[in-house]
């Protein structure tokens, strides 16, 4: 039943959020009967409009500010209110601009309100890679049941940036080690940032994957070699067999050389 609800919600949300990658406009989603978080959010919007009308109006009208990195963010005291969460979820379902949707996604955890059970649906229905990236990143603060599902889905995302962010989010989430299998699969990803992020995640969680990581010491990409070396060090594999790492003391990348030299000095 939950799967059907999720599918229905995904379809409902697909209309605005599954816009083409070029950001073209789409119509707002319709509310489907039987939705969990979505129905809750709409009910909360109605409640807040009655009980906290000024607050609700302020959140619904809040304009994002432009960060120094030229991205958008929602900031201010109203964001740090749990009641902002359903209002942001409501706005997300209506918003046509992917940059604003990304800002809404980024703000959700900062409200301290309910958002985690919406992440999977929002991710599944989202057509813009940047927004999916931010949604996945937001999962690091979500409970495991909600977070790990969306992270695992994102590890198979068509966009390399999203896959890499998923791996980084896995490393950041306290239960990310439960995704060892999915992370290990990403060690052979076509995109170097994904391979590097996956290697790093395994190392951070102390998951021994020496056999899968050692080939990455010869990866063409320096970030991958660096991440693999670090992961092997963190998981104790280097101490057991220093030879593969020792060769990297002559790596063309100075970061890799420094790390390899430090490890070599510690081993000896």
């Amino acid at each position: 039943m939950r799967s059907l609800c999720m599918l229905a919600t995904a379809i409902a949300l697909c209309v605005p959020a599954c816009a083409p990658e070029d950001g073209g406009e789409a119509a707002p989603a319709a509310i489907e009967a039987g939705d969990d978080w979505h129905a809750w959010a709409e009910a909360e919007v109605a409640r807040l409009s009655r009980e906290r009308p000024e607050f609700a109006a302020a959140v619904l009208a809040l304009e994002p500010t432009v960060t120094r990195a030229d991205t958008l963010r929602f900031t201010g005291p109203v964001v740090r209110d749990a009641d902002a969460a359903p209002l942001f979820l409501h706005r997300f379902s209506q918003e046509r601009d992917p940059a604003v949707r990304a800002a809404l996604a980024e703000a959700l955890p900062r409200t301290g309100g309910r958002y985690a059970d919406a992440l999977g649906d929002l991710y599944a229905a989202e057509g813009d890679a940047l927004v999916r990236e931010v949604l996945v990143a937001s999962a690091w603060r979500a409970p495991a049941d909600d977070a790990l599902a969306v992270i695992e889905a994102a590890l198979a995302d068509p966009a390399p940036r999203v896959r890499a962010t998923a791996a980084h989010t896995a490393s950041r989430h306290t239960d990310g080690a439960r995704l060892t299998g999915a992370l290990a699969e990403r060690l052979s990803d076509d995109a170097a940032p994904v391979r590097a992020a996956a290697a790093r995640a395994l190392g951070v969680h102390g998951v021994a994957q020496a056999a899968a990581l050692e080939p990455l010491l010869a990866d063409a990409d320096a970030d991958v070699r660096l991440a693999a070396l670090r992961a092997l060090d963190r998981t104790g594999a280097i101490a057991a067999d220093p030879a593969p790492a020792a060769r990297l003391t002559a790596d063309p990348d100075p970061r890799v050389r420094r790390l390899a030299a430090r490890i070599a000095s510690e081993v000896h």
Partner: protein, 554 residues
């Protein structure tokens, strides 16, 4: 009138000091040893008809590109007016004029960057841009003070003066070296004159702090007028150029960034004594913002003195500040630029991890402040694990100091940043600026990963305390305006903040630290105090003497 008096004193003093048999060097009013130029016909400068009165000091001016008379034209584009305070004046001593015989003419010609120079006499353009290089003959009776107007930065030219007799013989020659100031970006040891920040309502505490401490030295810029763009450090870079006759031209380097503050320089800064210029065009990256362009204090590197310090900026591989800006800075010669690796930062600016503060007790007179994540972790661990850290809860997901301490991934992330980026950056600073560890203050800092960046991946988790403003107003204590770390329970004061107290304890004696609340408007928007402030400063060195070795001889 003052310009002429200054010029007359310089020129006459140089002439008077150049007695026969003296060596070539002499002191002039400009404060340095300026060798007078001897004429080509008489190597010892002796004019058989007038003694050594045709020796002139070098002329070191400034580009005359502002609009002192308010006629809408750059002053270089018209004859010098009474209001024009940027021309240089070459005064002919009475003895020089008296030495001319009936029928003598003086022929003037230019060589070198003649297109950036104009020579005026009595309101008439003689040679230079718009009149050719000459020679132009002036009757002895018509010769008087010459006004020299420069039309560019770092111009190097020579004015040749030949006294020609009625019979056509060159009786005497003199050459005057002409040079205009290069563009020199300001560093933090220069006295601060005025401060600007953009008021947007949500940063009331930020603005109030500046107003209460700086008074009328601070201007709150209307955020409504400039689209809420608070990143005023990123839009412009100040430089202040002096001349040897008391001139001063402030050049505001206006970034191609062109967000809300695109028109700020022209609206509020340009006027008599100040111009705005942009180098480069086209698509701007984050690296084109001028929080990513700074200058060190004066340094000596491998025996070479840089009296105006060295310029530095952040770069990600081949992507850095616009090539036109980089090339322009290099062409100025006096602040040999170098690059730092800011690959790792979401915003990518050098002010996110480094700054310089005055320290009169230090041998070099300053300290380099640089972020250090190991120290940051030490500070966090020094706090009680159960201590609430207020704003960090909702805004960063860490409700107690213990939440941070327990985040193994966060610790790993910061270890990586230190090893892969901050340590090498410090090594680069030491190499490029001739610094040792004694010149460095490592400042506790912590970063976190953020998604959705176009560039790198890290931003400040704890407000970057090195991202500060140095307010060294003459006659007042040296003040630092520093982002408040807010690493304490809500409602607690700065005295209970381990990051704030650690920072204050590390600063050189005599610096007055003011912590500024920049959380919502700046920190959560990926910037801090320095990013949101800009400062006009006073030039302190004479480039024509202090940087002569960098500019090269004529």
């Amino acid at each position: 009138m003052q310009r002429h008096l200054a010029a007359a004193l310089v020129t006459a003093f140089a002439a008077a000091c150049a007695a026969p048999g003296d060596d070539a060097s002499t002191d002039d009013d400009t404060g340095g040893d300026v060798p007078p130029k001897s004429d080509s016909a008489n190597p010892d400068g002796e004019d058989p008809r007038g003694g050594r009165s045709w020796l002139f000091s070098d002329v070191n001016g400034v580009a005359n590109l502002d609009d002192d008379d308010g006629d809408g034209l750059a002053d270089f584009d018209r004859a010098p007016s009474a209001a024009d305070d940027d021309v240089s004046v070459l005064v002919f001593p009475d003895t020089a004029l008296a030495a001319l015989e009936p029928g003598d003419t003086v022929e003037l010609s230019l060589s070198g960057d003649a297109g950036d120079v104009q020579i005026w006499l009595g309101g008439e353009l003689l040679v230079g841009d718009g009149a050719g290089t000459g020679p132009v003959a002036v009757g002895g009776d018509d010769l008087g003070d010459i006004e020299i107007s420069f039309g560019g930065f770092g111009a190097v030219a020579e004015l040749h003066l030949d006294v020609v007799t009625e019979g056509g013989e060159v009786a005497h020659s003199a050459t005057v070296a002409l040079r205009s100031a290069p563009v020199i970006i300001n560093h933090h040891l220069q006295p601060a004159e005025h401060f600007w920040a953009v008021s947007v309502g949500s940063n009331g505490a930020f603005i109030d702090t500046y107003e209460s401490v700086l008074g009328d030295r601070f201007t709150a810029v209307s955020g409504f007028r400039y689209g809420g763009d608070v990143w005023i450090q990123d839009e412009i870079e100040f430089s202040a150029l002096p001349g040897d006759q008391g001139q001063r031209l402030d050049v505001v380097i206006d970034s191609i960034r062109n967000r809300g503050l695109a028109d700020f320089a022209r609206d509020m800064l340009v006027g008599p004594g100040t111009i705005a210029r942009t180098w480069g065009s086209g698509f701007a990256t984050t690296y084109d913002s001028f929080g990513n362009l700074e200058a060190s204090p004066p340094v000596t590197v491998d025996g070479v003195e840089y009296p105006f310090g060295r310029a530095y900026y952040g770069r990600r591989g081949n992507e850095g500040i616009h090539p036109a800006v980089a090339a322009f800075l290099a062409d100025q010669k006096v602040q040999k630029p170098f690059a730092l690796d800011t690959t790792w930062l979401c915003v990518g600016h050098v002010d996110e991890f480094s700054s310089f503060v005055p320290d009169p007790s230090s041998p070099k007179g300053f300290k380099l402040l640089i972020a250090d994540t190991q120290l940051g972790w030490d500070v966090v661990q020094s706090a009680p694990a159960g201590m609430s850290i207020g704003r960090y809860g909702p805004d960063h997901g860490y409700f107690t100091a213990g939440d941070l301490i327990d985040d193994r991934e966060l610790e790993a992330f910061n270890d990586e940043i230190q090893a892969d980026y901050l340590d090498p950056i410090l090594a680069t600073f030491k190499d490029e600026l001739g610094l040792t560890e004694a010149d460095v203050i490592r400042v506790p800092a912590l970063f976190e990963r953020v998604a959705g960046c176009r560039a790198g991946f890290a931003v400040a988790l704890v407000p970057g305390t090195v991202n500060l403003i140095v307010a060294n107003v003459p006659g007042e204590p040296v003040r630092l305006f520093v982002p408040d770390p807010h690493f304490r329970p809500s409602g607690a004061g700065v005295s209970e903040d381990v990051f704030a107290q650690d920072f204050a304890a590390r600063m050189p004696d005599g610096l007055e630290v003011h912590f500024v609340d920049n959380w919502d408007t700046y920190h959560l928007n990926l910037g801090e105090v320095h990013c949101g402030t800009n400062v006009r400063r006073t030039p302190t060195e004479d480039w024509w003497t202090a940087a002569a070795h960098l500019l090269g001889g004529q």
